[in-house]
């Protein structure tokens, strides 16, 4: 009996790698289901998820919108809010993962013949589902304040995919913060600080024109700017002339740059999370 299993672990043919990958995806999917139940059951979780996009739309549309150009600004603004929501969605990953790590359940997961990747994949995937729900709520709020999809349905679908991919990538950044935080308290405070500069030092809501040079450079190459610009272009929402955009390569090819930077973030953070998770759970 043991001979059979030993052979199995020693042979690393493509077929077994593929089987292992399929198993990880399957377990990730099972854990996504588990996390979705948590979303439904943790008090206040759904409320936070719904209130946040409503708050963003109302605040930006009426607080900033008033001085930045009213109706025109609101059409411009929504793409920025979509991008920002995807950044903030990562906070759920950070807190969720830190929570699991602090509870005994992680010991149980570790005693299963399951890849550690499945645990984090389950987390980021369920947060992606939550992210999609956030986008829908945000869009509904947008429609209520006068924003419209002004491009083709195909372009709108592409915009949606860009946002989801970007949200997924941000979720892995959130996961990294979660596994480094050690406690839920740290995850909930220090672990969320990066969300603000990343989403605000961008062209999501304002022009980069009047920023000091280093911030302007950051904003030009910030994936958040590219995502917002890409979505804006794809949805056919115009950029008011009062908000000139930098003419860097990243913003001239915003969709390509948004996709590439999302993939780059995944390529860097996926192994980072995994290495840290394995280390944490080794002792």
């Amino acid at each position: 009996m043991s001979t059979r299993t030993e052979t199995r672990t020693d042979v690393t043919s493509e077929a077994t790698l593929l089987a292992a990958g399929a198993e990880t995806l399957r377990n990730g999917f099972v854990l996504t289901g588990r996390n979705m139940r948590h979303v439904a059951r943790i008090p206040g979780r759904i409320t936070t998820g719904l209130v946040q996009p409503v708050m963003f739309v109302v605040l930006f549309a009426f607080v900033f919108g008033g001085s930045l150009g009213g109706e025109d600004y609101r059409r411009f603004l929504m793409a920025g809010i979509f991008a920002q929501s995807m950044v903030f969605n990562a906070s759920f990953t950070t807190v969720g993962l830190a929570n699991d790590l602090q509870k005994g359940i992680v010991e149980r997961f570790r005693s299963l013949p399951m890849s550690p990747l499945a645990v984090i994949l389950g987390r980021t995937t369920s947060d992606m589902v939550v992210g999609v729900a956030t986008l829908v709520v945000t869009a509904l709020c947008g429609l209520a304040v006068g924003w419209r999809v002004e491009g083709s349905a195909a372009d709108a679908a592409l915009a949606f995919l860009v946002l989801v991919l970007f949200g997924f990538a941000m979720s892995w950044v959130g996961a990294t913060v979660g596994v480094f935080a050690r406690t839920v308290e740290v995850a909930q405070s220090a672990g969320l600080i990066w969300l603000f500069p990343l989403s605000l030092i961008s062209t999501a809501f304002v022009s980069a024109e009047n920023m000091p040079t280093p911030l302007r450079e950051f904003a030009a190459w910030n994936p958040v700017s590219a995502v917002a610009t890409s979505v804006r272009d794809l949805l056919g929402n115009p950029t008011p002339a009062t908000l000139p955009q930098p003419d860097t390569w990243s913003l001239q090819h915003p969709t390509l740059y948004a996709v590439l930077s999302s993939l780059a973030v995944l390529a860097v953070f996926m192994p980072l999370v995994l290495a840290r998770y394995k280390r944490l759970t080794r002792g």
Binding site: S2, T5, E6, R8, T9, E23, R26, N27, V30, L31, R34, R37, H38, R41, I42, K103, G104, I105, V106, E107, R108, F109, R110, S111, L112, P113, M114, A118, T281, R282, G283
Partner: protein
């Protein structure tokens, strides 16, 4: 009962030369363990002896500084996946998902072990029945009592019918009935040829279940054998009595002193007295003859072989609360 050590079966769980240091505290200093299929090996030791550390290393949850462990022939580090595939673990602290119901907890584990939805549901139902959790199957585990959580965690260890089951203090916090249930579950596992490693604070439990007992203290194995073998290491028996009227206690104690070894132990509050002896039951007749002369009326009289508790105290030489010198108390 040395036959299990010469058993032809390859041990289902084996650990050799485990050493582990946390900072400058040597927690394990060369622990060896083997568990044969269809047998129970109990790990005993005072608090802080290193039982949980041993368990975590054996299950691949913690890396040893030295030594290795294998489960069902798979090294827990090099072939951790295969090893975990043969393992069911219930750690010292219940690892249940508080937001899921009892049923959902077990169903989730079944799914993660690769079962179909239906198979996982059937297995979850079976285990909930087995552990008398069927009444609360639909309630969130976060609302369970401590003992219910413990039982759910134990059920979780058995979801995939593992060949090796490791239980860290499985009956701590269980009421007497649940403890008996747990013992019955373990006895059933043995019939299926499962190898069980358990740690316990209850010597009665080790006495009842274990084929082999290992006593560790401060990270080293200080004794190993069957319960009978260990008891023989602490020679002799205890002769104990209780008098009806406290006035007779002094006479009774003198009579005990005349037939036993050393000084009798006397408790005036309860009217009990006892003494160590290396003699057989004939000592009781002799004692009764002494007592008849002074007309002391007895409520109780007994001759007990040393219990595992006596063995434990004799072997570790200090109470469970005593810690190593460097430890803050």
């Amino acid at each position: 009962m040395p036959e299990h050590r010469a058993a032809p079966l390859r041990p289902a769980l084996r650990a050799t030369g485990l050493r582990k240091r946390f900072g400058d505290h040597q927690v394990l200093d060369g622990v060896d363990l083997e568990v044969a299929p269809g047998s129970v090996h109990a790990l005993l030791g005072p608090n802080g002896a290193g039982k949980t550390t041993t368990v975590r290393i054996v299950c691949g949850l913690l890396r040893a500084d030295e030594g290795r462990a294998e489960i069902a022939g798979h090294d827990v580090v090099a072939h951790s996946r295969a090893a975990r595939g043969a393992l069911g673990l219930s750690g010292q602290y219940a690892a249940v998902d508080e937001h899921l119901t009892g049923f959902e907890n077990l169903h989730l584990l079944g799914r993660l072990y690769g079962m179909s939805r239906r198979r996982a549901a059937e297995r979850a139902e079976e285990l909930l029945d087995r552990f008398r959790l069927d009444d609360v199957a639909g309630r969130r585990a976060g609302l369970y009592s401590g003992g219910m959580r413990r039982r759910l965690d134990l059920a979780g260890a058995l979801v995939a019918r593992p060949q090796v089951v490791v239980l860290d203090e499985p009956t701590t916090g269980l009421d007497p009935r649940s403890r008996l249930d747990m013992w019955a579950v373990i006895e059933d596992l043995l019939l299926d040829g499962v190898a069980v490693l358990l740690t316990t604070q209850y010597l009665e439990e080790a006495d009842r279940l274990a084929d082999l007992i290992t006593v560790i203290d401060r990270g080293v194995v200080i004794a190993r054998g069957s319960a009978e073998e260990l008891k023989e290491r602490v020679q002799g028996a205890t002769l104990a009595l209780q008098v009806r009227d406290g006035a007779g206690l002094a006479h009774a104690a003198r009579a005990l002193g005349a037939v036993g070894l050393g000084e009798p132990w006397v408790d005036h509050r309860t009217g009990r007295a006892s003494i160590a002896t290396d003699r057989g039951p004939e000592v009781m007749a002799e004692l009764l003859a002494h007592l008849a002369r002074v007309e002391v009326e007895l409520v109780d009289l007994g001759l007990h072989r040393s219990s595992l508790d006596d063995v434990f105290l004799a072997l570790t030489g200090h109470g469970a609360e005593t810690t190593t010198d460097g430890d803050p108390v």
